[in-house]
């Protein structure tokens, strides 16, 4: 009896009868965003395109479908893509950050003369990128 009297929807913004306050909308924009069917297409497309060296797309995927990521056992069709996108983004970000930090901190001591060739401001000067017309 007590459980029946409990408010089945602790979150007033989510109107459903499930006790776990499952989100209604899969996107972060809520009702202004996508419906569930379209979300599957979008999530899948973002996930697949992210493999073209676009970790930012994975990050956008996770951001856009944040409710899916946050509430496990919700939107079972969308969730695999989002979880994999999050994992891919984390891996890519770790690799990139470690490389960038090694490059920045190591400097010439670690890389030798290659460092001067790789660093961006030298490259810009050499290629004349900043005086682009």
């Amino acid at each position: 009896m007590e459980s029946q009297n409990n408010n089945p929807n602790p979150n007033p913004l989510h109107r459903n009868s499930l006790p776990s306050s499952m989100p209604v909308w899969p996107t972060i924009d809520g009702s202004l965003g996508l419906s569930e069917e379209e979300s599957v297409t979008y999530a899948r497309r973002f996930y697949n395109f992210g493999f073209a060296l676009l970790p930012l797309l994975w990050a956008v995927n996770c951001f856009y479908f944040w409710p899916v990521l946050r509430h496990s056992h919700s939107f079972p069709r969308i969730r695999p893509y989002i979880v994999r996108s999050a994992f891919g983004f984390a891996v890519f970000a770790t690799v990139l950050c470690s490389w960038a930090l090694t490059f920045a901190i190591g400097g010439e001591r670690l890389f030798g003369p290659v460092w001067d060739q790789l660093v961006m401001y030298n490259l810009a000067d050499r290629l004349g990128l900043t005086s682009w017309s």
Binding site: W25, T27, L32, L54, V60, A100, F103, M120
Partner: protein, 507 residues
């Protein structure tokens, strides 16, 4: 900042003390933080009309302020030699390239010629845009928008970040740099291309595009910049309010077809009026507010004035007969009768229409696509409202916007030209920046009020530019004379009297 009460806004118009130039900068920053926080607050239902109105206004003023602020920062950090950009600005300075050895009159004439040429170009490009939109070449327009966004984000963004890297000597390697730049540009293109992307991401990218283009415009020679601002403000008025104006035609077309404007338009997130539950919001499926019957307003042709030009748009209830209204053809097949379909018809995807300028694409295409009018969207509470609908009532229920979700739309050209003005001021003094910022925000506020009153697409540039330019001259004139608060009225008097001579001294 929970409540934004437009009636009492001490934070918008503080009493400035001329001694505290650094404090002004800080308060400017704090004000922006406040605005930014208010902008990104969750969509709580607003409890009163003042709340919702204030929230709507804040949601459009905040990104404008952020854009201006970042352009000011860029301008003050990067003191690049303007010769770097001369070639790229060749389209704008095609009539005349200013040199320091020219006399004032030559500079003035040259600036006029430049701005005239630019306005002619923009008009021409906007008419082409209207034509393409009329013949439903949506695919081509979208592709062109995506292409120009890629150019702006990739090349302009890359150049600005290279300047920053050189300025701060950050040891970034080329692999990381190009990877990040590529990511940034491609995701930006996707947000512009796809109609349904995260609202925050879309808005962020539009602001970034505005910042980049505004920064490149600040590299123009001084006289040309000011002539260009005034010329664009006049063009805006003409293009949006005249019956043959291209922007007006574009908006009319878009509204009559209930389609998105094919241009880069910033749309503020709609405010949840009247405590609607999230489910109820789904019912609003139209892009534009259905034209309400307005007995006093017989502007049948004034409804669709979107397009390039910084203007505020409203579809006004034209004639007294909603049934034989302009063809509300549902172009978008995805909008069906399914109540669980997406809400307000893809209004958050900004289909950017880039006006075709071959040459420094980054100068032009943005201008025509970006200067879309400021569009107010009203929430479509009921379809087919009766003849005796009271516009003011609906206004309060639905929000002051034109679109079906009550949100306000502001063309990216507005962002750009506001930021150009403030960026120019930043080259001089921070006090000038603050004064110009306040003038522009005041102008934008006035435009929004007019938007709410007239329910029609309005140009957003003229009022702000009209307020901003004199304020810039006054602030600059004051700074030249010497800043002493007790003698302030005297200095204003001096400045206005000898304005011609002082102008020569200043510039």
């Amino acid at each position: 900042m929970r409540e934004v009460n437009p009636a009492s806004q001490p934070q918008y118009f503080p009493v400035t003390s001329f001694d505290l130039s650094q404090c002004d900068y800080l308060s400017f920053f704090l004000l922006l933080c406040n605005l930014a926080m208010a902008q990104t607050q969750t969509q709580r239902p607003c409890s009163s009309i003042i709340d919702s109105l204030g929230e709507e206004i804040v949601r459009i003023i905040a990104p404008v302020s952020i854009c201006m602020f970042l352009v000011v920062i860029l301008v003050s950090i990067l003191n690049t030699d303007s010769s770097l950009f001369d070639a790229s600005m060749s389209m704008v300075t095609m009539a005349y390239t200013e040199t320091t050895s020219d006399s004032t009159w030559d500079k003035f004439l040259g600036a006029l010629l430049n701005s005239l040429a630019f306005v002619v170009l923009v008009t021409f490009a906007t008419f082409i845009l209207v034509l393409l939109f009329y013949f439903r070449c949506t695919r081509f327009l979208k592709l062109y928008m995506a292409f120009s966004t890629f150019i702006v984000l990739g090349f302009l963004g890359g150049e600005v970040s290279l300047f920053l890297i050189q300025q701060f000597n950050t040891p970034v390697d080329c692999i990381t740099f190009f990877l990040l730049l590529c990511n940034f540009a491609v995701v930006g293109v996707l947000t512009v291309f796809m109609s349904k992307m995260a609202i925050f991401v879309t808005q962020g990218y539009l602001v970034v595009i505005g910042i980049l283009i505004a920064y490149s415009f600040t590299m123009l020679p001084e006289w040309t910049t000011w002539a260009l601002l005034v010329a664009m403000a006049l063009y805006d008025v003409a293009a949006v309010l005249l019956p043959i104006g291209p922007l007006r035609l574009l908006v009319e077309l878009a509204i009559s077809r209930d389609e998105e404007i094919p241009a880069l338009v910033y749309e503020a997130r709609p405010v949840n009026h009247g405590n609607l539950s999230p489910r109820d919001l789904v019912q609003r499926r139209r892009l534009w507010r259905e034209r309400r019957v307005d007995n006093s307003n017989l502007q049948t042709d004034s409804n669709s004035a979107l397009g390039h030009g910084s203007s505020v748009e409203f579809p006004s209830g034209s004639d007294g007969n909603p049934s034989n209204n302009l063809n509300m053809v549902r172009e978008n097949p995805s909008r069906n009768a399914n109540p669980t379909a997406n809400s307000p018809g893809g209004s958050y995807g900004c289909i950017s229409l880039v006006n075709a300028e071959e040459e420094p694409v980054r100068v032009h295409e943005t201008d025509s696509e970006l200067s879309a009018p400021l569009i107010d969207r009203g929430m479509n509470v009921q379809h087919g409202r009766g003849e005796d609908a009271v516009p003011s009532e609906n206004l309060m229920l639905e929000g002051i916007g034109l679109g079906s979700s009550g949100s306000i739309k502001l063309g990216l050209g507005d962002f750009i030209f506001y930021s150009v003005l403030v960026g120019r001021a930043a080259m001089y003094d921070f006090m000038t920046v603050y004064a110009c910022y306040l003038a522009i925000i005041a102008g934008l506020g006035i435009t929004l009020i007019l938007l709410a009153l007239y329910q029609k697409a309005l140009p957003a540039l003229p009022v702000s530019i009209a307020l901003g330019c004199p304020v810039y001259l006054m602030a600059k004139g004051n700074a030249d004379v010497g800043i002493k608060p007790p003698t302030l009225p005297h200095h204003y008097h001096c400045a206005t009297q000898t304005s011609g001579e002082r102008y020569q001294l200043c510039l």
